[in-house]
Structure formats: C-alpha cells, structure tokens
Symmetry: C2
C-alpha cells in the first residue's frame, strides 16, 4: 500500500494552496508537512510539487492527487456501510470544477438537496466551460461541468442541458453607440465585455454575424461584475438568460441585435469508479438540471 | 533606450496568458513572439518568463512589465497633447486588480463615467482584498483596490471607504440549524460559505464571538454564487450589505447573530508617476466612492 500520510500532506498543500494552510488543515506543523513531502519525493525519485505560490503539482503529483481523490470517495462509501470506521469527522468535501456562470445561476439550487441530505460540503473550482476538464485530468477535482462532451479515460460524461446566452446591452448604450437599429458592423467598433482570455462567446457571436478580427473589450472575470458593467452602459456582452430574467422582463437589458442566441451545452464529467456519493450527485443533477437548462 | 518591440512581446504573452494569444494580440506569428522573447533573454542573460501554462514572469520579467505599464500611461498622456502621434488605435487598456466583491457591487458604477469619458477599457484582475497588492508589486497592474493601507515604494495609497460585511443566512437555515436565537457556539457546527483560501472574514467573525478552530465550509470563489448558496440554505457567510440590499429588505436573508458587522477598509493604490489618465481615475474614485462605501 502507498503511505497515505505522505499523500494526504501533498493533497492538503495543493487543496489549501500553501504549506502553512495545508499544515493547519492537517493539524500538523509546517515542517512536518514539508518533511512528508520531501520523503514522498525521495521515494519517487522526483518532485511532486513546484514550490511556487501557490504550490503546483508536477505531472506525477497530479496523478497522485487524482488517486487520493478517488480513494477518499471509496472510503466514504465504506464508512456508510461500516459506521464504526467513522471517526466523527467534519462533513465530506467534494471538489468540483465548473464555469462561473453555472455557479452564479442554476448550480446552487441544483446541488442543495444533495448537500443537505448527505452532509457534504463543496469546494468549487472555477474554470471556463471550454477548459474545465483539465482540472479533472490534473486529478484536482472529482467531477466537472464543462462544454466538452468527450470523457477522459476512466470517466463518463452526461448531457445536462444548455445555457442560452444572448448578446445584451442597455437601451442607453444601444441608443448612444448603435443608433437604434444598426448594421451589425457597428458592434465591432464599440466596447464588448469579455469574461477572460478563454471566453470566446463574443467572438462566436460576431462570427455568426459574419464579423471577425480584433474588437475592443473590457475583461471582467466575475459573472455578477459582468452584468453590472453592462448595466453601467460600458459595453455589450453575452449573458446567460437565466442570470438576467428580471432585467430582460423590465427592459433594463435588451438584445443588441435580434434573434441570435448561442446555446452552450453543459456536460457532467465524473470518474466511473467514483463511489456511491458521486453516483447519487450524478443522478440528482441529471434528473433536475432540465429545470434550469435548455434541453 | 530599451527595445520596446521585445518588451511588448513579453507584455502581450503575460497579459494574454499565452504565446499564441499574445501573438494574435500583436498581429504577429507565434514564432516571431518567441524569438523576441528569446532575444530579450539573451540580452539580459537571464529568463524573463517561466514557460508554464499560463506563462509566468520571472522577477526580472515582472520589473520589465511594471516598466512597460508605466511607459504606456505616459505615452497616452503625450498622445493627448500631441494628437498627431495617435495612430488611431483601439481604446487604451488599464489593468486593475481588485476584490471580487467590489467588482460585483460598487466598482462598475464608480468607473463608468471615467471609461466612457476617456474611451478606456479595463482589464480586471481578481484578487482577494488582502493580497491584491502582490499583483501591483509584480508589475502586472497599474493600480489596485485592496485592504492594505501601506503603499509600495513609488506608489501612493488613498482610503476609499469600507465595505460592510454582515453574517447572513436564510430564515429557513437558521430555524433548521441554529434553533431561533442560538448560542454562538452552534455556528461552528454548521457549514459556512468561504470565498477561497484567502478569505478570512468568516474566521474573523467567529473570533469576534470568541470562537476559534476549524469549521466546516463550502468554498465558492464567485460573489454571485456565494449569495446563491446562502439562498439555497447551504450555509451562513459574510456578505457585503451593498450586494444584498433587496434580500435584507425583504427578509430573504437575515443576520445569524445580532450586531456584529465587519467593516473592511479599501484603499486605492496607484503608481506615483502613473500619468494623467491614472490621476483622473484616482480623482473620480476618491470623489465618488463614498456614495457606496462606509466612510
């Protein structure tokens, strides 16, 4: 068997994003945690962590983390069946990668019954919907919500539904910059709002109108900030319908150009041998996500 | 003079978080950008970038980036005075680090007149309020909003006002877990919601009640997701009053324990020789922030 004291030290340092906090989470001194990781590296003959801020797992470090994550889920199943094993610990943690717009809209209501029913707390890791899978490949999360269908080896993916994005701005922004009912070309000459370097929705929308090339934009890596920037007349941007139902109903935000929503499909990726807990979450999500997503 | 072709390549790769996107932003091939960075490193006799994903500047790389940022601001001032220099470029970009709760609440309305009046677009970089200054020290941003007062060498800090945080939950959560009007100790036995590993507000709140040690918590690095988790009865957490005015007025969220808000002071840090544009932004912010923050 592996030495799980050493692996737990590695997991704590990566999950808590630092040696001091990792040590605190384990109730150990920082030097004890450092020694465990050095011992692990000595046994493997190679480093498991890059000593950056925060510490980054090496490739072999990631494989070990992935393994720890799966072992934890299996342990939890066993504890449910052999309650004597339970050491009265804090609620189980599940690490899940998802896109910011999901976390800001349908996700909390969808997972609430699961968390409450199973005494589970969640570590949410934000990743753009097109790149979230890399966190799962890196062994940092137990499951992920992302726009890519193809599962990793050893994992499964299931379609949850799509988020519908519409190109929106305030009536004031449209009147000032787009002159009422404009030719689409005007859109590339006014600022857009883009979530981050991985967010290609605005590019896709412009491409769907036959426009390409660079366009001026604010970068705003916050779902709520994104909507607030729109509301402050600073630009146009692709927003999930789910997030701005009230603003659409009241006319505070309107389509910049009629009839071109983009539907982004969301898939639930989870390890095949992830244990009962992950299986239950999967079942709840696939059953309920259609309440919020376009299926 | 430095060779600004080389420095621009470095800045583009770091700001766009990749060689391919950096090259795209400059309208160059990826190999041209790689060559410029190699040439820069050959001249300096040391690396300016760690080839990670995304690429990270080395210490000397950070100093160069900081310099580029300041030169850009000075160039912009000169262009304002000598309009012939203006090459009809896209609007000027300013990179600013701030905490997610500011971006989700007062910031968009506070900067809107400045952005619209000066044709400036913003790159927002999210950092917890206690650690935002490291982005400025790293030369990655022109200015930052953070909770630390002491300015860096060459920079200035000005008090903007405080964000008031209250410990909130739904009435249903309180009834279920905290039994109406509970002893504070019950708070450590129910899940909290914590923004991320750097968020110490929940710890500070518990400490103010005389409680310490570990407590179970969801991690949710999204301001809007944070409030949605609260609303889904998944935990209690420290929320800016500004963000939930309606929920407080309607009684959808209530204080878990009376009378203990935490005021987090916010300071505006900016380079002393940052040019006219940064000076104007500074003036607008210090004049208007009191509309939203507690002063």
């Amino acid at each position: 068997m592996f030495d799980y004291k050493l692996l737990s030290a590695l997991a704590a340092v990566v999950e808590q994003a630092g040696f001091d906090r990792g040590a605190q989470a384990l109730g150990l001194s920082q030097s004890a945690v450092s020694q465990r990781i050095k011992l692990l590296e000595a046994r493997l003959g190679q480093p498991v962590l890059l000593r950056a801020t925060p510490p980054q797992p090496t490739e072999v470090g990631r494989r070990l983390l992935n393994h720890v994550q799966q072992v934890r889920l299996l342990e939890r199943d066993l504890q449910g069946r052999v309650p004597e094993l339970d050491e009265g610990r804090l609620p189980e943690r599940l690490r899940i990668a998802l896109n910011s717009d999901s976390l800001a809209t349908w996700w909390p209501a969808a997972v609430a019954p699961f968390c409450t029913g199973n005494a589970v707390v969640l570590d949410h890791v934000l990743e753009d919907q097109d790149v979230g899978l890399k966190r799962m490949r890196a062994g940092e999360v137990a499951a992920c919500v992302c726009a890519v269908e193809r599962p990793l080896a050893g994992a499964r993916s299931q379609f949850l539904g799509s988020m519908r994005y519409r190109a929106l701005a305030t009536p004031a922004f449209i009147t000032r910059h787009l002159c009422g009912d404009p030719p689409a070309e005007a859109l590339v000459r006014v600022p857009a709002i883009v979530f981050g370097p991985d967010d290609q929705l605005q590019h896709r929308y412009l491409a769907s109108l036959g426009l390409s090339g660079a366009f001026s934009h604010h970068l705003c890596p916050s779902s709520e900030g994104f909507v607030r920037l729109l509301q402050s007349d600073l630009g146009w941007g692709m927003v999930p319908e789910l997030q701005v139902r009230e603003e659409l109903a009241s006319g505070a935000l309107v389509d910049v150009y009629r009839g071109k929503p983009i539907d982004v499909p969301l898939y639930w990726h989870h390890w095949r041998n992830g244990g009962d807990l992950l299986a239950e979450l999967t079942q709840q999500l696939t059953r309920s996500a259609g309440q919020w997503l376009v299926v």
